[in-house]
Amino acid sequence: MGDVQHFAGPPDWLWYILFYFFLAGLSGGSYVLATLLRLRDAPGDEPMARIGYYIAFPPMLIAPLLLTLDLGQPMRFWHMLVNTTPGHLGVNFKYWTPMSVGIWALTVFAAITTVSFAAALVRDGKLRIPLVVRLDGRVLNVAGSLFGLFVAGYTGVLLSVSNQPVWSDTFALGGLFLASGLAGSAALMLLLARYRPEARPSAPMLSVSERLYSLLELALIVVFAVTLIVAGTQEIVFGLPWSLLWVVVLAGLVPGLYGLATERLSAGPAVAVRYSVVLPLLVLAGVLALRAAIIFSVQV
C-alpha cells in the first residue's frame, strides 16, 4: 500500500471544468429520466418528462462555452474535431482518449437536446415548428439517453485516464459522476415540478429514483475510497480542508438515504408537496461538492 509513484504535474483545470462537469451530469441525467418517463407512455408523465427535456438543454449551451474559455487558445476549440496537422487534414477521433470521444459525444448530445427542447416547447404550445416534434420520437430520445449517460459519466473517466494521483488510482470516477449526476437530476426535476402542478403525478417516481441513485452513489464513494486506500493516496482527497466538502457530499445523500430507510420504495403523490425547496438544493450542493473535492484536492 502507498507505493504508487506520481510525478505528473497538475493541468490547472479548475472553475470552468468544475461547472462543466456539474452541468454535464445534470443535463445527461435529466435527459435520461425524461426519456424513461416518456417511454412509459402514460400521459400523466408527459409534463414531468418535458421538465427533464427543458433542463437538459441550457447546460449544453453553456458547457461548450466553459470548455472553450478554459482553453489556452479558445479560438482553436475546433482543433478537437479537425486535425490541422499539415498534410494530415481530417477528423480527430481518438477512441482511447476520453477527451476526444467526449467532445464528439458532447456535440451530438447538444444537437439532440436542442431538438428535444424545441419539441417540448412546441408540445407546450410555446413554439410552432412541427418538424421538431416529428424528429423528437422514441429513437431520438433513446439515442439521446445513451449519449446523456455517456456525457454525464465520461468526465470521470477523463480524469482517470491520466497519471495524476487520486484520479488515476481509481476506476470508480466515471460511475461516481454518473450516479451523482442522476441523483442531482432527479432532485432538480422535483424542485422544478413545484412550479408545474400538472407534473406532480410523476413526483413519486423521481423521489424513489433519487433514493436509489443516492444509494448507488454511496456505494461508489466506498469503492472510490477503497481504491485510493489501496494506492495510498486517500489523504490527498479526504484530508483537510477537502473533508469539509465531503461533509457536503454526504449531506446531499441524506434526503435520498433517509427516504429509503423510512419509506423504502413507496412514495405517494403527496411527496412532491412535502418535498421542500431546501432538500433538492442540498442534493445539488452535494453534486457540486463531490466534483470540487475531486478536481481541486489534486490541483490546488
Binding site: G9, L71, T84, L149, F150, G153, N163, P204, L216
Partner: protein
C-alpha cells in the same frame, strides 16, 4: 559529428555522474529557444529554477546527498545533480491523450508539440509522468523541449548538448548513445561505483526513452517513476468505462423500478 539525417532516431544520453551543476544547458536552451524564464526562486542547493515547465525545457536538479562520514572523492555521489529534460518517450503518455493530435513524432523520432495545432487544453500535462510540460502564459499553449527541432533540421546539435562543458549531455543517434551508455556503466561499475545505473536505456520504461540517463541513485530520487509505475494513461480506459457502463445500467434499472413502484401506487385501489 556526421550529418543529422531525417528518418533516424536521435536523442540525449545524460550522464549525471559527471554533471557539475553549472547550468550551461539551462541557459543555452533558454537563449536558443527564446524562453523568458521566471524570476529566480530561492530553493534548496543551487537550484533557483524549480522545475520543468513551459519556460524551462532543461532543468538541473540538485539533491543534497552529503553523508556524515567522509566520502571517496570523484564518484559524483555527494551532490546528486541531473539535467532533466523531456524524455521523448517511445510510448509517450502526452501524445496518447492529446485530443488535437498536436503532439507528433518528428522525422528524428522526437516528440514535438506543434505550436499552431495545440489549443491549450492541457490534457497532456495531466498525463506526462515526468512533469515535463507546462502551459505558457504568453502563448496559451503547451510547451516543452523540442529536441531543438529547428536546429536538427539545420544539421545542428541541440543547444544544451552543445553547451555542456563536461559532456554530461550527449546528443546523437539513439543506437549509438545506448552503446556509449553501456560502456560508461561498465567503467563505473569497474571502479566500484555500485550505485550507478541506467534509466530508460531499454524498453522497460515507456518502450525506451530517446532521452535516457545514467543515475547515481534510485530513479524516484530524481522524480522518475520506476518500471512498475511507468504506465500509460490508457490503462484506465477499460476500468473507467466499465464502471460507468455498469452504473448506467443500474441507473436505468433504478429508474424503471421507480416508475413501476409509482404506477402500483397510483393505480392501486388503496391509493384511491
Amino acid at each position: 559529428m556526421p550529418h543529422i539525417t531525417p528518418g533516424q532516431a536521435y536523442g540525449f544520453f545524460t550522464d549525471t555522474s559527471v554533471c557539475i551543476g553549472c547550468k550551461a544547458c539551462e541557459v543555452a536552451c533558454k537563449q536558443w529557444n527564446q524562453l523568458e524564464g521566471h524570476a529566480p526562486s530561492f530553493l534548496d542547493g543551487f537550484d533557483n529554477t524549480g522545475r520543468l515547465d513551459a519556460e524551462t525545457w532543461r532543468h538541473v536538479q540538485f539533491h543534497d546527498n552529503v553523508p556524515d562520514e567522509a566520502v571517496t572523492p570523484g564518484n559524483g555521489a555527494a551532490w546528486l545533480m541531473m539535467s532533466d529534460v523531456c524524455k521523448h518517450c517511445k510510448q509517450a503518455s502526452c501524445m496518447e491523450v492529446c485530443p488535437t493530435n498536436a503532439i507528433i513524432r518528428t522525422e528524428f523520432d522526437s516528440v514535438f508539440i506543434q505550436p499552431d495545432v495545440c489549443n491549450g487544453c492541457r490534457n497532456c500535462i495531466a498525463a506526462c509522468p515526468y512533469d515535463v510540460i507546462g502551459a505558457s502564459e504568453t502563448t496559451g499553449i503547451a510547451q516543452k523541449c523540442t529536441l531543438c527541432y529547428d536546429r536538427l533540421q539545420n544539421d545542428m546539435t541541440p543547444a544544451c548538448a552543445k553547451a555542456c562543458p563536461t559532456e554530461s549531455i550527449q546528443f546523437g543517434p539513439v543506437s549509438e548513445l545506448r552503446q556509449t551508455a553501456a560502456k560508461r556503466l561498465e567503467i563505473l561499475r569497474g571502479q566500484g561505483v555500485t550505485q550507478a545505473r541506467l534509466y530508460g536505456h531499454d524498453e522497460r520504461v515507456y518502450g525506451g526513452l530517446n532521452a535516457f540517463f545514467l543515475l547515481m541513485d534510485e530513479p524516484e530520487r530524481y522524480g522518475l517513476p520506476d518500471e512498475r509505475n511507468a504506465v500509460l494513461p490508457s490503462r484506465n480506459n477499460a476500468g473507467g468505462y466499465l464502471t460507468a457502463a455498469v452504473t448506467a445500467v443500474l441507473g436505468v434499472l433504478g429508474g424503471l423500478v421507480a416508475l413501476r413502484r409509482r404506477k402500483e401506487k397510483v393505480e392501486g385501489p388503496a391509493d384511491g
